[in-house]
Symmetry: C2
Subunit: 282 residues, 2 copies
Amino acid sequence: MCQLLGMNCATPTDITFSFRGFSQRAGITSDHSDGFGIAFFEDKACRLFVDNQSAVVSPIAELVRNYPIKSRNVIAHIRKATQGKITLENSHPFIRELWGRQWIFAHNGDLHDFNPRLSGKFIPVGNTDSERSFCFLLDQLVVKFGYQEPRIEDIFQVLEEISPRVAEYGTFNFCLSNGQALFSYATTKLHWIVREYPFKQARLIDIDVEVDFSDVTTPEDRVAVITTEPLTDNEEWTAYQPGEMILFQYGQPIKHALTHVERLVREAKDPTLKRVTRADQY
Amino acid sequence: MCQLLGMNCATPTDITFSFRGFSQRAGITSDHSDGFGIAFFEDKACRLFVDNQSAVVSPIAELVRNYPIKSRNVIAHIRKATQGKITLENSHPFIRELWGRQWIFAHNGDLHDFNPRLSGKFIPVGNTDSERSFCFLLDQLVVKFGYQEPRIEDIFQVLEEISPRVAEYGTFNFCLSNGQALFSYATTKLHWIVREYPFKQARLIDIDVEVDFSDVTTPEDRVAVITTEPLTDNEEWTAYQPGEMILFQYGQPIKHALTHVERLVREAKDPTLKRVTRADQY
């Protein structure tokens, strides 16, 4: 299993505070030490740093902790290998271009016997279930929309249909971004929080570091943070419900859906039950 | 215009010596200070570092100079912007996945009015002529081979046919790699050298640094370095002939072709002349 960290912001923001706590889990407060990666979008382009060393010892992680790269969309991942070797090609996040934008994906969970038919447009470079699921999601987006870029809301709708189908194969918690917005989905474990004006103090759980965000922000700032386990112990994190998909843009959730993962899994086992492929909105 | 640096090796090798000299040209010995990038392959995966700061001041370049990442295929680029803004999305090298491998491309030169029809599978993220030409090359490879990965030699043959067609639009010097081999092409300026046993001393031109490779190598090592302008003043660099394409693998040139760029350009101006689209081998 792995841990995920996502950030979506109204204004370009650096992630050094959250990454400082998160990266402790790569060997100090937890044992997610089989590689790490972090991607920072700047408009449509992105910087992707990956290393098969742990985020505790990697010089690349040290750079990320000390070099405040400002971004509106960030996805990070620390790995505890369950499927696939500890090689660079199996390090999340994964990157692909679609519709003239880079897309970044990181996954937490295990998918069993997930070997979908792929068109060939997106082929995994490594051998993880995670990269296969990423290629499958993008492939399905192309099946639906071709090479004409759709609206973010339409992408959300297709992801909302496809994600529970992938989740039938196991645990499927992910963060996905194209630099415009951040799509997140959880079947078992993910938490989110929005920090906005009036900003308060936050204290990391994994390392003795505290920050008063009111000292380092302006009223225009707003930041959504998504993570497997809460990073701070004095803020209120919201747990995703099983099967919940949330779209973040401008530092806040702008669209929710609850896909009925459990029902889908039950129905997959009993094909006489009606399959739900379109989730209810709430 | 820009400057290119490529490295192809028999055994994983670090590029810190060459990059130290090369990156001086990003503001100290030359004015290529509008961003830099470097990509290191590890088997099929790759690490890509890009920054829109110059390689002289960028903390990411500093990391690369000091952190000896070992790789068999490396491509680096320092930019002096002529087309496209100084943004991250216009920083070379560019990355795309094809046939389950990452592909990396960097270009030196200007292409004028090069607006080829693209299928949609590879769409530029930024707005440079360079990224357009990269998308065009990959598109043409898919036209030729579909989603079935061909042999390296077959890829070379297609690149040898297509590259002079792109070169009709201007200057087209490039390095391209999929982690297995490094394809290089020059219409105006590129140099190469192979360092192998018995290794000798090398002295950088751009900074007062000298290394005795016999101290840091084994007889199995062999390294080909490709660069716009020679990096050392006590080694013999070979200049590419106009229209020359060289394929490097295992640290040495394994295939050459001379595409008749000048003839192509002349023929493009005079359509009554026969077009040469298939280069002669030598």
